[in-house]
């Protein structure tokens, strides 16, 4: 059989990879098997080096306090510098960039969102009233929901 990595040499090594209880068998040649070892060691080095750079100081290269915390999700600037991941919309405070967005802008139709949320709220209230057997009040709420949904559909059709 031909090596499944380079597709050139004769495969003499059978590698078994285990992930998620799945067994995957790969046939490879000795040359490709050697390169796989190098890649593995290289990637471990890459992972570790930036952590040592920032670990022993309280401010980063730009002078920012690395203990600064995002109030919304709790991520610290230190964590951000390691992960380079936004965990919520407010983590954007950590980003230092001169770039300015120049593309699509969301319309964020708040009015429509408001109506949807209002319907949801009233539907919850309706369930509660029925459970409490307050049918007269429930009928009133039911009609209100019907009207709101009607308006919503009309808006959709005209827009």
């Amino acid at each position: 059989m031909i090596c499944q990595v380079c597709g050139k040499n004769e495969a003499t090594i059978c590698m078994v990879k285990m992930s998620n209880n799945n067994k995957e068998t790969i046939y490879i040649c000795p040359v490709c098997a050697g390169q796989m070892d190098d890649k593995l060691i290289g990637s471990i080095n890459q992972l570790l080096s930036p952590m040592f750079d920032t670990f022993f100081s309280n401010s980063n290269k730009l002078g920012h306090d690395i203990n600064q915390i995002c109030p919304t999700c709790g991520q610290t600037r230190r964590e951000w510098e390691e992960s380079r991941t936004l965990n919520c919309k407010d983590c954007i405070q950590f980003l230092d960039s001169d770039e300015i967005h120049n593309g699509k802008i969301p319309k964020n139709n708040k009015e429509e969102l408001y109506v949807i949320n209002l319907i949801k709220e009233k539907e919850g209230h309706l369930k509660q009233l029925i459970a409490e057997e307050k049918y007269e009040e429930a009928a009133k709420i039911r009609d209100e929901i019907k009207d709101l949904k009607g308006d919503f559909q009309d808006d959709k059709q005209t827009s």
Binding site: G7, C73, L95, H101, G103, I116
Partner: protein, 351 residues
């Protein structure tokens, strides 16, 4: 629905002999949820259920069309792997599928991943070179979702995403190409260098490090901020057209210099498919690549072969594709034994 082949394989788009497919992906997050990396499982489920309600509303269907949600937890391992092979989900989504979902349009040309790296990943796929239509469709779905969710958006930085490299437009245009001549002559290195200078990147079929699988490559934009979506698209289209010209020149050159060697390789590839007893996906795809090259050069084969058949093999030759085709689970050894039959059946060789 999960088991059928996607539309992007139909080889009906522009430049279908060299360009397999065009894809657009939009990354979006909702402002009142923590982003998926730190999001609680309760919130993740809440979002999935909310999307399930959203996509059946008349307002959504009207602008985005009919779509169906599947919870990744409720799909079989084979279904999930098949989604990956159809390029509908990412390798990361295959490994960590809990509390994640996928919304699929009826022909699978449009999809929304929920709770992957970002709350929403809107994807649109077209066959051939057609970034424009792919963008229009993805944009429509984005507009439809926007009516129900308030996006995380920053006045200066634009759409906010988990990974800072996607901030701004959150858009990635990506084109899958078949470039056998450029990879044989080493011309790809030059292509890679010039793409990089302009902010574009070329990867193998499965992404980084998978170069040389059936000579299939994906070319996409690296930067997402500071430039309008349309301009990123026009920039990429121009690069793709340049690469098409280079690939055609390389083919011309190869067949002029080494006509017999090329024909020999192509017909041996055909023979390999016809007579092999054991076949891996990679070996099979490399043979298909050569047959595709022969087809484009007008070489006659004993059976009539078209691009759609060859495209279908891109997906079916892989592990889950093969098992879905034969409708049963198989070990690696069994798959290698059954693969020659799959290739012969799809290409109608020796039937």
């Amino acid at each position: 629905m999960i088991n059928k082949l996607p539309n992007w394989l139909n080889a009906k788009g522009h430049e279908s002999d060299i360009v397999i497919s065009s894809r657009v992906r939009l990354a979006r997050n909702i402002d009142n949820y923590i982003f998926p990396h730190r999001m609680s499982t309760e919130d993740k489920d809440k979002l999935i259920n909310s999307v399930n309600e959203t996509i059946v509303s008349s307002s959504f269907i009207k602008s985005a069309g009919e779509m169906k949600l599947s919870k990744m937890d409720e799909l079989s391992g084979l279904d999930r792997e098949f989604l990956l092979e159809k390029h509908l989900i990412s390798p990361n989504m295959l490994d960590q599928y809990h509390n994640r979902g996928i919304v699929l349009g009826l022909d699978e040309s449009i999809s929304i991943l929920i709770n992957e790296e970002d709350h929403f990943r809107i994807q649109s796929f077209f066959s051939g070179l057609n970034l424009q239509d792919a963008h229009i469709i993805a944009d429509k779905v984005d507009d439809a979702l926007e009516k129900f969710y308030s996006y995380a958006y920053h006045e200066k930085y634009g759409y906010l995403t988990s990974c800072p490299t996607n901030i701004g437009t959150g858009i990635r245009f990506s084109v899958m190409m078949h470039l056998p001549a450029l990879s044989m002559t080493g011309g790809l290195k030059e292509v890679q260098r010039s793409l990089k200078l302009d902010g574009f990147v070329i990867r193998g079929f499965f992404g980084e490090g998978s170069e040389g699988y059936g000579s299939l490559y994906q070319i996409s934009n690296q930067f997402t901020i500071g430039v309008k979506e349309e301009d990123i698209m026009i920039g990429l289209e121009k690069r793709i057209n340049d690469i098409i010209i280079k690939e055609k020149e390389s083919r011309e050159h190869l067949f002029k210099q080494k006509n017999y060697e090329m024909q020999d390789m192509i017909y041996r590839a055909y023979g390999n498919i016809k007579y092999s007893v054991l076949l891996t996906a990679k070996e099979g795809m490399n043979n298909v690549s050569l047959i595709r090259l022969g087809l484009e050069r007008g070489l006659p084969f004993e059976v009539a072969i078209d691009y759609q058949q060859l495209n279908n093999l891109i997906v079916l030759a892989q592990n889950a594709g093969l098992q879905s085709y034969f409708g049963k689970m198989m070990s690696t050894e069994e798959r290698n034994r059954m693969r020659p039959r799959l290739f012969k059946e799809i290409l109608k060789i020796g039937g």
